[in-house]
Amino acid sequence: MAVVYQKPRGLTDAPLSYCPGCTHGIIHKLVAEALTGLGVMDKTVGVAPVGCSVLAYSFFDCDMVQSPHGRAPAVATGLKRVMPDNVVFTYQGDGDLAAIGTAETVHAAARGENITIIFVNNAIYGMTGGQMAPTTLPGQITQTTPYGRDVSGAGYPIRICEMLATLDGVAYAERVSVHDVPSVRKAGRAVKKAFQAQLDKKGFSLVEILSTCPTNWGLDPLESLQWLKDKMIPYYPLGVMKDLTGQGGGQL
């Protein structure tokens, strides 16, 4: 029987723990494909966050470290300083990276730490049951913004990619999405480019991937993809925010 689709090498056989319709699975696949495509899976160490992807250490088929909440860039820094020739990446959600771990994120970027961050932005805290995230859109209803995010009290969402792009240590920052097949393909190229930047010792690379949370958004998977496209992308424009990789391309 002809194989028409298979799980990429680079992921273990552990069943993914994500909700039906959640795009974490797609993003895991893109990361694994990029690492295997570059032939570096056997020298890669990943850092799992706290959040929905806390169990990422079970899914990526490489050595993994599970980090305290938000500290993944600091943990990755420690790893990378011991093994500068290995590939070190973190996989973080928006609460982990853009709220409790903002300092670690910004300073790893400012140092030009030669690591890659896969930043999954789904505008909500998933694992804890759908609370407001730093990236929750104005007016968006969550468990802790039951009347919609009121920016007069809850403040504004953070555009991480744009913010980090202002830092000299950042070699590559791009925002992509996974709401349809062309977007997924572009996201895959961005992830691969980020890892290539690390292999070329260019410095800090980050790919922000807009993602869905059907469970906590209260939408079915298809509606979620549409919501991402209609609501998130206007607030979080896709594209390359910074590129010093010298690899060219990358524009969407």
């Binding site: 470290v65 305290p68 500290r71 600091a74 990755a76 790893l79 300083r81 670690e104």
Partner: protein, 355 residues
């Protein structure tokens, strides 16, 4: 005997860490431990190591976590308020069975407190260095030479038992200079089969993790860890006994306050009072057997600390009411004087030891 150098405790300890094979040091500035960072920033590049000034104590301890996960001998240093920030990371290190060395050059607290020497972090170090069921090794040097010697033990035991080790010193030991000798070694740490790194598939995946969502699995992991702690307790508690053989008044003190007490004990002996001192060199594991034995010979115990009384609770715990336990302390950064301690010893002596 090698050359004796005149060095500050902070700098001597930093040099010793390098000789002990530490090549990854992460810190954040805080008084009175700044000389450790400054020394490392000069020394590490020459030793081919990493010195990194982190954005916070939180980041620094997590960099230690990452470096340790990769199998390196990693260290961070701070002082009391900064150690509070590190407790999160210490808990994760303990829960992930990772070794490391944490230096606390204690200053007065709570809050911002002060910057003068203190021993008010005893509870934090020995009871709650982080959340959860855990222990860490706690060493308590009292001289600059011991600051050096302790670093080697701290790294060795931390690695052997895969647990964090803290060196609990204070501003006085960090800032003072004393003659010090360094062992003629440059330790090459042994490879760690559990460390993360490149893997061509010839071994199972290594995962450094503290998360166990199934309660019974977590319980099992903790029980295994506590079995290691039990071995540590059985084999590695250490203390110095000074004139305890015939001591009727047994003082108990560690670190800088033990220096003060030693002088007071000498002065008491000069006055014909049979005083002695038991000085824990490890606060966890606490030298409980040695304390019980020495206390059994004495009529009274006097614990002296630069706090409102923290170790004294362990002294009472481990003597189990067999002997009256008294306390004298100064706090907030005030260092007790030998005269003050002598006065306490004399008072107990006059009261027949059990006042």
């Amino acid at each position: 005997m090698g050359e004796r150098f005149l060095m500050k405790g902070n700098e001597a300890l930093a040099e010793a860490a390098v000789l002990a094979g530490c090549r990854h040091f992460f810190c954040y500035p805080i008084t009175p431990q700044n000389e450790v960072c400054a020394y490392m920033s000069r020394r590490m590049p020459k030793a081919g190591g990493t010195f990194l000034q982190a954005e916070s104590e939180i980041a620094a301890i997590n960099m230690v976590l990452g470096a340790s996960a990769a199998g390196a001998r990693a260290m961070t240093s701070s002082s009391s308020p900064g150690i509070s920030l590190k407790t999160e990371g210490i808990s994760y290190l303990a829960g992930s069975d990772l070794p490391c060395v944490i230096l606390n050059i204690q200053r007065g607290g709570p809050g911002l407190g002060g910057i003068q020497p203190s021993q008010a972090d005893y509870f934090q170090a020995t009871r709650a260095p982080g959340h959860g069921d855990l222990r860490i090794l706690v060493f308590s040097p009292a001289t600059v030479q011991e600051m050096v010697d302790t670093v080697f033990d701290a790294f060795d035991l931390a690695e052997r038992y895969r647990m964090p080790a803290m060196i609990l010193a204070d501003g006085l030991l960090g800032q003072m200079m004393e003659p010090v000798e360094f062992p003629a070694v440059d330790v090459t740490p042994s490879p760690k089969p559990w460390a993360v790194g490149a893997n061509d598939g010839s071994r199972p995946r290594n995962v450094i993790n503290s998360l166990y969502l199934q309660a019974d699995v977590l319980e099992q992991r903790i029980r295994e860890r506590f079995e290691r702690y039990r071995q540590v307790e059985q084999s590695h508690s250490r203390c110095e006994e000074y004139l305890t053989g015939d001591a009727e008044i047994l003082t108990v003190a560690y670190g800088a306050s033990a220096r003060v007490v030693r002088t007071a004990v000498n002065d008491a002996r000069d006055k014909g009072i049979k005083a002695g001192m038991l000085r824990p060199l490890t606060l966890w594991p606490f030298p409980q057997e040695q304390l019980r034995a020495a206390a059994a010979r004495a009529g009274a115990v006097l614990t002296v600390e630069m706090s409102m009384g923290q170790m004294v609770e362990d002294v009472r715990l481990y003597t189990g009411g067999s002997v009256p336990v008294h306390f004298f302390g100064r706090t907030g950064g005030v260092v007790p004087t030998p005269a003050e301690v002598l006065e306490q010893i004399e008072r107990l002596n006059a009261e027949g030891g059990n006042g």
